[in-house]
């Protein structure tokens, strides 16, 4: 059992992400906003597996999240950029696995994803010539998510990084 759990840990944790998004615990929210859960998985995974695999996984993750939310805007570009960037950091060995670095990278990743998502919303409204009433709400959403993700990343990302790298070491 323990062997299988170790073997399929990345896959299991990957499949848990949509369930956490559905669960959406209110006690872990800031101004009604949740942390950006996909980043917690993508960051440690990309650090170990490099930019190109992470680019693909970012695409797959975004694809699943888009399908869950059934929205007209997409999360794919943001997650692909983050996957590639996190992978590059891992390849260049620029991360010293400190809490601060995990938090900072996760926060910047969330900012990129949030900003891309919000830009799509704004562009659609501009094309429709609608009022930009969503502007303050969008900015508030982005900053709440960035803060919360950055705050929780040292806990979740370090833990997942430890588990993923342990599995990776055993495999190689």
């Amino acid at each position: 059992m323990k062997f299988y759990l170790n073997q399929y840990l990345p896959l299991i944790s990957f499949l848990i992400i949509p369930l956490i998004i559905f669960w959406n615990p209110a006690w872990l929210s800031l101004m009604g906003n949740q942390a950006y859960w996909p980043i917690f998985w993508l960051l440690p995974w990309a650090l170990i597996h490099g930019p190109f695999k992470s680019l693909l996984l970012g695409f797959l993750l975004g694809f699943i999240l888009d399908t869950i939310n059934a929205d007209i805007y997409t999360q794919i570009p943001g997650l692909m950029i983050c996957g590639f960037w996190f992978g590059k950091i891992g390849n260049l060995n620029q991360l010293n696995n400190t809490s601060r670095q995990f938090g900072l990278n996760a926060a910047i990743g969330t900012l990129i994803c949030g900003a891309i998502y919000f830009c799509q919303m704004v562009i659609k409204l501009l094309f429709e010539k609608s009022s930009l009433w969503v502007f303050s709400y969008g900015v508030q959403n982005i900053f709440a998510q960035v803060f919360l993700t950055g705050l929780l990343a040292p806990v979740f990302c370090r833990w997942l990084y430890f588990l993923f790298s342990k599995k990776y070491r055993l495999k190689n």
Partner: protein, 249 residues
């Protein structure tokens, strides 16, 4: 006969990488076709022991009294008018279905809730969802066991509404905050703070005369329309039980 032909490594089906690519696209196809209903149905079973208890229905009944007072006032006026007008769509109590909220996403980009009744129970896309206080959203899509509701506060939500006092139609647009905007497509109208907003009595999409909110502020300076801010009477952040109006039942 002995087959001397060896498997050629140049054939694509002998290459492991090709199969990984095929598998990747196969996963994408499955995800797209299943619309992640599998995840939702798995979540249904996992969250089942934690669903809200029956006592929440007591709260629903109490708040329904307040809702009924508003509706009664409107229905009396409506009746008089409708005698002279069309024969409207009827909504009986049999169309109502109680359901509990099993997932709530009211804060971030996606203003949605997930209910524990799906197509198996006769819920279909476009059904109105009512919580204590009034309308909270419209069913966006359904799986066999669950249905996803787009809230009125969602930036993608647009609903036709009715100002009870001045008998005027408007369009309620979600802007992400708790107070959606209401656009009346005319100027110099007598819209006041405190006016009740209901679903249109002539609507064929929503059940008629369901309380939606109260006008909180009016911007008379805006051109060419009159824009008002509406405080919704139902608060989806605190609702555990809702009622679904099955339109196609």
């Amino acid at each position: 006969m002995v087959n001397f032909r060896r498997p050629s490594p140049s054939r694509w089906w002998n290459d492991r990488k090709s199969w990984i690519v095929v598998l990747f696209f196969l996963i994408l196809l499955i995800v797209r076709l299943s619309k992640t209903y599998i995840f939702r149905d798995v979540y249904y079973f996992i969250s089942k022991p934690f669903w809200p208890g029956e006592y929440q229905q007591e709260i629903l009944r109490k708040s329904a009294n307040q809702e009924l007072n508003i509706k009664l006032n409107q229905l009396e006026r409506d009746n008089l008018r409708l005698r002279r007008l069309l024969d409207l769509q009827n909504f009986s109590r049999d169309n109502k279905l109680n359901s509990s909220v099993i997932s709530r996403n009211t804060g971030s980009w996606w203003k949605k809730i997930l209910l524990n009744k799906g197509s198996q129970n006769g819920v279909s896309t476009g059904d109105a969802v009512i919580g204590p206080g009034g309308l909270i959203g419209i069913v966006e899509n359904t799986s066999k066991l669950t249905s996803s509701v787009k809230l009125l506060t969602s930036p993608n939500s647009k609903v036709g509404v009715w100002n009870q006092r001045v008998n005027l139609h408007g369009l309620l647009i979600g802007v992400g905050t708790k107070t959606p905007k209401l656009i009346f497509y005319s100027k110099n109208i007598d819209v006041q703070i405190g006016d009740y907003i209901l679903s249109s009595p002539a609507s064929t999409i929503l059940p008629p005369n369901i309380p939606i909110g109260i006008i909180q502020s009016v911007d008379n300076e805006s051109k060419p329309n009159t824009i008002a801010t509406v405080q919704l009477t139902a608060q989806p952040e605190a609702i555990d039980w809702v009622q679904i109006f099955r339109m196609s039942y």
